[in-house]
Amino acid sequence: EGSKEYIFRMNVFEKSLIRHAKLNSKTVSIENAQFGINKFSDMTPEEFQVKFLKLKQEPAEPFQPLSLDLWLGNKPIATTE
């Protein structure tokens, strides 16, 4: 307590509280997500991103109905006259 790191983390934590209040103020129904203090609340958004958000994925090609149906076990419908 009182160290440089402590003061920094306290500031980060207080900013998190402001962010939670903003997010929760937009809640429109009881099914909506709730935001608040959790184990990440003393991390800056930048620290959180560097530590936990490391996926390097591009959007996939839109699905091909036929290939997707093969996964679902649906046989293509035969075309007849």
Binding site: S16, R19, H20, L23, K26, S29, E31, N32, A33, Q34, F35, G36, N38, K39, F40, S41, M43, P45, F48, Q49, K51, F52, L53, K54, L55, K56, Q57, E58, P59, A60, E61, P62, F63, S67, L68, W71, L72, G73
Partner: protein, 213 residues
């Protein structure tokens, strides 16, 4: 359609992982869908080695520094690598030298695919219901502050995290996916979170991966 599917209820999902300081969400989610498919096809639920995937997968993957679900599955299939149990190749939460290059004991995948299902989330629900859990790329920026409930708004679509979807629930006012995260059981609903179905919330339908074993 079945209104509620939860693959956990039929014992097809292993315990929630904690990736700690290792940014290998791509390896966790890839391995998790393989575990689920082994349980569905063979009736055996057992944790497989995320560390093997982290250390050994190539094609641009960089262990705990980041990677990609699609290329991880591509690597597994094209090299016919057998994924061993997590007991045999346990987690260290660090990128290390690959210790297994030619194991014949373990699980190989028979096929895999990654689809963009934006505006086709009906298909995504079909896959979860009729095939099994899927792995998705997602924007988890907002999750830093998540406590619980169904995420419906305020989520961006910059794909930066990977998770497994283990079911869905269409019975309430807000239909949602049941999403398994890898940040420990003290996050969200015992490690899980809920995301609304239908509007590509958090980019959930942008890149959907499935496997078979």
């Amino acid at each position: 359609r079945t209104q509620k599917v939860d693959w956990r209820k039929t014992n097809k999902v292993t315990a929630v992982n904690n990736q700690k300081d290792c940014g290998a969400c791509w390896a966790f989610s890839s391995v998790e869908i393989i575990e689920s498919m082994v349980a569905i096809r063979k009736g055996v639920l057992a944790p497989l080695s995320v560390q093997q995937m982290t250390d050994c997968a190539r094609f641009g993957n960089r262990g705990c520094q980041g990677g990609n679900i699609e290329t991880a599955l591509m690597w597994l299939k094209s090299t016919n690598t057998a994924l061993v149990s997590s007991k045999k190749y346990p987690l260290t939460w660090k990128t290390e030298t690959c210790k297994l290059t030619n194991s014949t004991e373990g699980v190989t995948i028979s096929s895999h695919a990654t689809y963009g299902l934006v505006q086709n989330e009906e298909k995504m629900v079909d896959l979860i219901e009729n095939h099994g859990p899927v792995a998705v790329a997602i924007d988890a920026t907002l999750w830093q502050d998540y406590l619980g409930g169904v995420i419906q708004h305020h989520c961006e679509m910059n794909l930066n995290h990977a998770v497994e979807i283990v079911g869905y629930d269409l019975t309430g006012n807000v239909p949602y996916y049941i999403v398994r995260n890898s940040w420990g059981t003290d996050f969200g609903h015992s490690g899980y979170l809920y995301i609304k179905i239908g509007k590509n919330v958090c980019g959930i339908a942008t890149s959907v991966s499935i496997v078979d074993v």
